[in-house]
Symmetry: C2
Subunit: 187 residues, 2 copies
């Protein structure tokens, strides 16, 4: 995650960076450990709270927020193959929720992967957009706003609409994915 380096961890432990290699093979492994630790915060709603669909959404939102709370961690989630106990726990829980929705287990396996990948990517995008990226965002808005109506009619017609929606966009995307996996059997 951003600003999490072996050297800083080592400094916080009052030792040299080399000493960390006793506990960890490399930086990726440190990342995986931190990620799984944070995943312990993810809350999965109890059985009686609403239907499976809203519980699934709540669990994914919790995952998303746990990542977003630490700058850079979403990127880690995208580049790590996690195998820690909390990831196992979360995966099992999501599989269960989808099965409650009537989905076959093998399709649910692919669905969980897709949902987690999307949620991580969304958190990473949000993460990148905060901070000093106002420059890049403004340039994108200008580039898309000043497009010729003849060559790019759709973009021109959309205008500022292309950058609309923060929370509502995420909610919509989650519904897209859930509706999609429900309507798309495995080949």
């Amino acid at each position: 995650m951003a600003g999490l380096s072996l050297r800083k961890v080592a400094a916080a432990l009052d030792t040299g960076a080399a000493s960390l290699y006793v506990y960890v093979a490399n930086l990726d492994e440190l990342h995986a450990l931190v990620l799984d630790r944070v995943l312990g915060e993810v809350v999965t709603p109890p059985q009686q709270d609403g239907d499976w669909r809203s519980r699934l959404k709540a669990a994914l939102r919790s995952y998303s927020e746990a990542l977003y709370a630490r700058p850079g961690l979403a990127q880690v989630a995208l580049s790590t193959i996690p195998s820690g106990p909390n990831m196992v726990e979360l995966t099992e829980c999501l599989l269960d929720l989808l099965q409650q929705g009537g989905m076959e287990l093998d399709r649910a396996a692919w669905a969980v992967d897709l949902l987690l990948l999307h949620t991580s990517a969304f958190a990473a995008e949000r993460d990148n957009r905060r901070g000093d990226d106002k420059v890049a965002l403004r340039r994108a808005q200008e580039a898309l706003g000043s497009v010729s109506p003849e060559k790019h009619p759709h973009i021109h017609a959309l205008g500022a609409e292309l950058f609309s929606g923060e929370q509502s966009r995420y909610d919509w995307a989650l519904d897209v994915l859930i509706n999609g996996v429900l309507n798309t059997p495995r080949p």
Copy 2:
């Protein structure tokens, strides 16, 4: 992208790294330039080739492969807000394809974002899985394979199935997204 540093570019140009700051404000801007250049390779099928849906899939597959062909570039696509001409071109093309599928323009705007985000994330995941990540993958397989049947019955039942499917999984995910956006109106 992996191994693309300001210093290496500068070295290739027989100058010092500092000199690049005449053309580029920082590393992110260099990344954005490279990304848009590569996006020029993306091919979008002509009108007469199949229905809109298969043309949409072909365009996204082309995007995915352009990213995947350069290690690290998919990560760049995820962390950059692109505003280059080739990205504008691709966006317009995807909007057009979705509109041919009967979608309202404002929903298509969100859909294009979602499709590109997912395709980039998928390419990044594939990218990370190649190379020296065999260690992490094997550890994940072991962790999920040796799970207790009582505490994690779903994962236990799935076994190796959790890691199945390469190409077919990507095709399925694309169908999930397309079916999803078709079935989910904007709020």
